[in-house]
Subunit: 339 residues, 2 copies
Amino acid sequence: MSPPGALAVGIDVGGTRVKAGLVDPGGTVVATSGRWTPGRRTGPADVEAVIVDVARELAAHPLAAGQDVCAIGVGAAGFVDAGRGTVVFAPHLSWRDEPLQDRLRERLGRPVLVDNDAHAAAWAEHRFGAGVGESHLVVLTLGTGIGGAILTNGELQRGRHGLAGEFGHQQMVPGGRRCECGNRGCWEQYASGSVLRREGQEIVRTGGPHAAALSAACGGDAALLEGVHLTRAARAGDPASREVMVEVGRWLGTGLAGVVAALDPGTVVVGGGVSEAGDLLLDPARAALARHLVGRGHRPVPQVLAARLGVDAGLVGAADLARRAAANSPERSASPTLP
Amino acid sequence: MSPPGALAVGIDVGGTRVKAGLVDPGGTVVATSGRWTPGRRTGPADVEAVIVDVARELAAHPLAAGQDVCAIGVGAAGFVDAGRGTVVFAPHLSWRDEPLQDRLRERLGRPVLVDNDAHAAAWAEHRFGAGVGESHLVVLTLGTGIGGAILTNGELQRGRHGLAGEFGHQQMVPGGRRCECGNRGCWEQYASGSVLRREGQEIVRTGGPHAAALSAACGGDAALLEGVHLTRAARAGDPASREVMVEVGRWLGTGLAGVVAALDPGTVVVGGGVSEAGDLLLDPARAALARHLVGRGHRPVPQVLAARLGVDAGLVGAADLARRAAANSPERSASPTLP
């Protein structure tokens, strides 16, 4: 049994789902829960209510019985000023300059830490996943877009305003595909889950024998095809889906060559839903990185690894960051029960 | 008069010139010297001999009389593993895995530090120039290509192998202009001194009234036109040259939007020869950055400043880094004369 106070609640607030878990100091999720994320048209208070609700549920979980839940960590999809715990801007969550950390702390009566979801997921990979032991780590999270984080000597590099790690918006194609950010040709328009969905739907619409597997996956209705269908079809051997993976992997590796040239990490970890394709995606990415990296042949090329913590990475990282912050905060540092 | 031991020699080894100076702890260059860089076809020993020669000349300079030159810093155009002081790869200097720091230390009998030239220049801007007081700084050096450096809380972020800061090779145009690195469409093919030269030569070759100022600058021989001619013509009001500056500035700002999204600096300092164009280049760059930065309108946009130390930045930074390293090294830390 863990010592009292060793459990923390981690909550990953995405555009669709709020995933929550009770996490022990070794990064193991001992209990989970979840909610639907209130829609875009609801107010910030609705999302906050859901977070409070799921946090209370887990803090009262039988597995936490007799133990003090030492902290609650929230990873949110948006720009988060982690120093102040404020969500500066969250396009999917109707938050604007929301002092979420203070409000949750008040309502929950426990130490709360709010951070960006990609930072939280990267922290989990650094502490318990594919990035363990690497002094210079870049983590990319491939979902709808490309989120990310930079870790140097065990510390998240947050930048001046806590907004670092937004890798997805380097322009790679002038006048290219429109991006949610208002620009054209951003990297994430060529190497993310949205691309799988878009390409998969186009294959279904085009029809023909090569579309058979994907058409079957969505009952012939292209609009119903999601990225995950293409990933599954690729894993099952569908040639059209594999071709898309190779293309997306190439864009991933070509963009990575720029990131690696700028940051010189020893390891790149690729997570998020898209990474479930594994080497079908990562092998072409590795090849493109090796092909495009400046100084290739005269420098080490970083390893590119699949993330290990899967969909739980965000909540595990948020819980661990919150536990660490609580342990380091002056009013808690006297407690012998905190790691 | 400075205390004994307060002077350091800084040497900036570029593809064309070796610039050297005697630098005091306040970053002031109290004496200078220089040599031509031995051509590409000569061996590494020739470049080393030039460095030793100019270092000895400055250490024996009348202004250093009675003072101990405490350290010698070398900034070299190439991939430098600053931890080992080894030049891993220097395309313009015929060095491959050259343990330059150890060899120079042996020959000069003084503490020597070898670093990348862009890192050295950035360090100078951080310590004495446009970056003073900024906790999160990105410095770009626009010469033939785009060199750069990242400084966080007063420390150079060197990456896993000391190679961080190579911003110039993010792909911005698929199938675009060929780059020395072997790729196509790298950022530096659209936003560096090479572009000024290339565009200027093309304007001269095309002829017509709009080419008058640039043609005059090179005596009508396009092959003789250098980037600096275009910069001067732009400053003097030549419309064609100003148009090129606006275009290059736009590419600079568009690429910067990707760098800023990834790193979230508070300030970007732009140095190198091209930055002599000042606001003719930087104003369009600022506009493009503000236009392309992800989350614009919901986040602070970093200021973009011209570097202040001009062509001396590299040698000033190399001298200061060497002085700092000497002061921090165990065998020297007992000396009361070092800052």
